[in-house]
Symmetry: C2
Subunit: 671 residues, 2 copies
């Protein structure tokens, strides 16, 4: 590239873009790690986007009607940090930029949601940002249809790299966006032809233009270093009636000795090469020094949206008060006042009628009473609507002719669904939940982990949660997936035993502000075990005494979900033999671990032998069986230590020994 030509053609643009390039070089050099090439290559695109198109106000980073900017190629984090610093986001100080990738700084190696304002989502695991963006754009559509264009009317912009486009989840994302004609979603592809291992051709020769078109996108192709072309493409993209992909031909590490090489992807820290690059850019100030005129030009961009924001505030104030309240409440993740009373009334009714239901059906019953009072919920399923029981009659289906529809047919896209649900939660104003079979936690994992890391309350409805699934066999029978989600920090894993506990789990999940929930629900019918009504949410304690010992307490059976019924039957056997047996229902290990020791000790006192019962692997149970005053030679577990098999559910429980008889025998063997 002829840098001089670029520079002289658009000197003002050039100096602004170069500020990004220089800060990137300096920060990566200071950290001695990071990715220099991508921010340098995409500086022109980002500059034009922020200068001329992105609707934002650096002084009001959380303004609900701002455009969203998602850096899907998260390794290029210095692009985002530079932009936030230059445009004047208060928290993104120069000090923070200088402390790139250091302990305590908000400038992590990859952008972390919650660390700094202006970071709309955590990216780095490739493909996540572009898949989140589908949820952002859907949430915008739903809210626009709900509150009107004067309250909600913004774009979602994404910068994605070759890595994002190679990850399979990107296909799920772009086909969803195409299906729903999410015309306010604009993806700028950093088409630099370089990955870590070499040129893209080494591993991929996909015609991305034709690929996106086949998914229903508009595609524009431009020189990503030509500010006029970038501006024109963005202008055109905003007018279309499809999502738009702008293929931006760029040079990674533009102007650096490593330009157009895979070395340029990484940390460019050689002082002489840095100096040479800066000279080529015409950048003469010292490290981390941005000339005052350039900084002011950027700050003007940062405050460009202030007027638009105040105009929006005035428009928003004209909405009916009830609408404003609902909008603000949903953004604040506050529960509606009616929620608690509704759950209590529902629980009372269920305790009285004591239905026998699969907990997936219990879940549907709960949603039938909650969805009408929580207009912010958006449900869905990855092509298992009838099996996951996630759809209630009031939601309406999200579609081209019903943008206010609150149910999404996600198709066979567990990963894309999960990432898009995260995007919805991050956008704000909606509470997403979505279902699949629990075994397909495997497909959704990358996004489930990110929900936990980002501290957002996405709800994953995982039905068919054990060998109780039956004939579909071991490919569809989770045995390790409870352990997988429990191993993940900041995740609530609920395994309710009946309709009452299911209602309690939903209450917690839908009032949670910082923790995602996994609802582990059965395919098979379960009796109501909580037949005595309690207004208190007992599941919020994680575990509680469901049935206490009669006579001397010799045995404690601890169980979850479908195995609580088995534990109760085992208790009957033991009590009939005069062995006092307590049954503890443990719907949520994480919440039980958060209780104070006095409560935990009341539930799990030392002394009696303990048997855990769960149709899953033992991993995760020893803390309750051997720990918490338990003893290695006084505890046992009834569950799975292998994959399942294909047969009717009842047969499987018998063959794998998850029976009341076996539980009782194991308990007796310990006495």
């Amino acid at each position: 590239m002829d840098l001089t030509a670029l520079r002289t053609a658009h000197p003002d643009h050039w100096s602004k873009a170069t500020a990004i390039r220089a800060l990137t070089l300096d920060a990566v050099a200071a950290a001695n790690s990071g990715h220099s090439g991508m921010p340098i290559g995409m500086a022109d695109v980002a500059t034009v986007l922020f200068e001329k198109h992105l609707k934002f106000d650096a002084s009001a980073p959380n303004w609900p009607d701002r455009d969203r900017f998602i850096l899907s190629a998260g390794h290029g984090s210095m692009l985002l940090y530079s932009l936030l610093h230059l445009t004047g986001y208060a928290d993104m100080t120069l000090e923070q930029v200088k402390n790139f990738r250091q302990w305590g700084a908000i400038t992590a190696g990859h952008p972390e949601y919650g660390h700094a304002t202006g970071i709309e989502t955590t990216t780095g695991p490739l493909g996540q940002g572009i898949a989140n963006s589908v949820g952002f754009a859907m949430a915008e559509e739903i809210q626009r249809a709900t509150y009107g264009k004067k309250a909600v009317d913004h774009y979602t912009y994404v910068i994605a790299g070759d890595g994002c486009l190679m990850e399979g989840v990107s296909q799920e994302a772009i086909t969803l966006a195409g299906r729903h004609a999410l015309s306010k979603l604009i993806v700028m592809w950093d088409n630099n032809n370089i990955t870590i291992d070499g040129t893209v051709e080494l591993s991929d020769r996909t015609d991305q233009v034709s690929r996106f078109k086949s998914a229903g996108w508009a595609v524009l192709e431009i020189d990503g270093h030509d500010p006029e072309a970038i501006d024109a493409a963005l202008t055109q993209a905003k007018k279309g009636n499809k999502p738009t992909m702008i293929a931006c031909k760029t040079h990674i590490a533009l102007g650096h000795a490593a330009q157009d090489t895979s070395k340029g992807h990484g940390a460019l820290t050689d002082p002489a090469q840095m100096q040479a690059a800066k000279e080529a850019y015409g950048w003469t100030t010292g490290p981390f020094e941005v000339p005052a005129d350039v900084k002011s030009a950027w700050e003007a961009i940062g405050s460009r949206g202030a007027q638009e924001r105040t105009a929006w505030e005035a428009r928003f104030a004209t909405l009916p008060n009830s609408k404003q309240d609902q909008f603000n409440r949903a953004y604040a993740l506050d529960a509606p006042k009616k929620l608690s009373a509704t759950i209590k009334a529902f629980k009372k009714q269920m305790s009285e009628t004591a239905p026998k239901l699969a907990t997936r059906a219990s879940s549907e019953k709960v949603l039938e009473v909650l969805n009408p009072i929580l207009p912010e919920t958006v449900g869905g399923s990855a092509d298992l609507t009838g099996s996951n029981n996630t759809k209630t009659a009031d939601l309406g289906v999200f579609d081209l002719d019903n943008r206010a529809g609150r149910y999404v047919y996600w198709g066979i896209r567990e990963h894309g669904m999960s990432a898009a649900m995260n995007g919805m939660a991050l956008h704000g104003g909606v509470r997403p939940y979505g279902g699949t079979f629990m075994c397909f936690t495997d497909y959704a994992r990358p996004s489930m982990r990110l929900a936990a890391l980002m501290k957002i309350p996405t709800v994953f409805v995982m039905t068919h949660d054990s060998i109780g699934l039956g004939e579909d066999g071991p490919t569809h029978q989770p045995v390790e997936h409870l352990a997988i989600s429990r191993a993940t920090p900041n995740t609530y894993v609920f395994r309710p035993a009946d309709t009452i506990e299911t209602a309690e789990a939903w209450e917690i999940a839908l009032t949670s502000k910082e923790t995602p929930s996994v609802l582990s629900l059965t395919r098979q019918g379960l009796p109501t075990v909580r037949t005595e009504h309690k207004t208190k949410n007992l599941s919020a304690q994680g575990a509680y005494v469901l049935a206490d010992a009669e006579g001397k307490r010799q045995v404690i059976l601890v169980a979850s979900g479908s195995e609580v019924e088995i534990a109760l039957a085992a208790r009957d056997i033991l009590q009939a033999e005069g062995i006092g047996t307590r049954v503890v229902s443990m719907p949520c290990m994480e919440l039980f671990a958060q209780q104070d020791e006095a409560y935990r000790k009341r539930v799990l006192p030392g002394g009696p032998v303990r048997v855990g019962v769960e149709a899953a692997v033992r991993q995760g149970w020893d803390q309750w069986l051997l720990g918490e005053r338990g003893k290695s030679n006084k505890a046992d577990f009834v569950g799975m230590d292998s994959f399942g098999a294909s047969a009717p559910a009842g047969t499987l429980y018998e063959k794998f020994g998850i029976t009341a008889q076996n539980v009782a025998e194991k308990a007796k063997a310990l006495l």
Copy 2:
């Protein structure tokens, strides 16, 4: 559809295809569960494939040069079981078909590899089969280039449905196949426009033809009920120089009342409707009864390949003996004789020179000595070759002009890589290993689980295995992934402490026949801790005493991988204070659990306090700390109970308290 027209146009074809349809209806009705519509819809395509194209011999199901047939749409398992039964596979008796989905039958709900001959891979989790097929086709290319066309020359055929094509992994698969011009891969898409939730349009409007073309495929479009068109398309597909997708327009549940509906996808068990469908087919025999002439016609198809097989055997016998031996040894998954001695010599040298190396670099050193003596290994990385250290100089790169190359640049496709590696292992003759960052276990999970379920020895090289990754931050730092893989049945998780243990882990992984391995390797440098040479593979015992207590044994520190060094330093602190401390290195929990109790007791005797040390979550550790003669109040753990952070590795270890000082203090607090 006018069934009469179809039937009269090709009566012989029709009766053969109808045998599949009738068996499917009968088996699903007997099981009262399953998926009837897909086998009924694709019966014509499958019949033509088996009759006129698929190279196979039902009497020799494992003939190495057979064509492979992969039912990616695994829910249509009755299609495969019908074909295997009709063509005369000895194990697929009528009794087995009648016991569809029952305990002990080989006819599981979804096809399970290892249950019956002719099942080339386990499918059901959608997208896996088509992604496996890329590995099958690559393995064929590599073997053909290695042994010549007279020994290896076969096709891989796939039937995939809309679900397979919606899953993101299919995009990774088809772009890989296109990149490598895998012309002997032929995918037949069951284009029936139906998913469980409704018509495909409900969730997807992708132009699949254009999508496959953009990935470098040839595409043909046919009527999937016209046997001549099917035959012509397969004939053309076999001649091309690209992978071919044949879009087969079909009617799900053809001829049944549920034809062309999502109800038709499931179990069609209504007796009257079944009877009506059979009448429409002109099928007059009772349940599970195939007319003798139709069965003979199918059996003739099953034996059609016998002559070709004997011809192949004759050709194979002309290969040099050394080549035949290598071919047969690799197919049998037998290790070369030299392997054991090579590992021993390497370990001796390493114990003597005691290098300080990251275990990912140790792994490369091991591969440098093993790859040359194991011509069956095929390595690769998901675009992290230099970071995963998976490439050795001798391998050569698999590419269009070097089909014998044994290194694959998988691109940013962790899931597609893992599924394709499974396909390679299933094809036979090659031993695949591939690398990514351990955190991206999340992306690879669906295929990692299937390797364990299928009992195939795929090797997953997972580097950057803790917060020791440093500045890239929590999105890239695994904390729960050791627990995730350990929770999975039939999986070896190796976390070697130094170069010696890394060599031992590789020896086990590359001699394993039925268990996949996860190698958890560090980014950061580690000292050699096994400085005294032992010829025995100590890691095969799972855990062993690395340094015993001097004086009275009061403390046992149990650690893995990078934390063994920390445990040894803690031992120094404790011994200096006169506290006798044993350090147990535990590179593989699963293998330790398999040792007899006497050995386990020698390593972990009751009495001393125990502290576990691993830079990961505690889940999974309690069995060794509290169990195995341990005590709740005499055990502790030093590790992670949250996500990590972005900072240099040394800082993170300090800040998260994973230090020798902290380990020593925790041990003392328990005394």
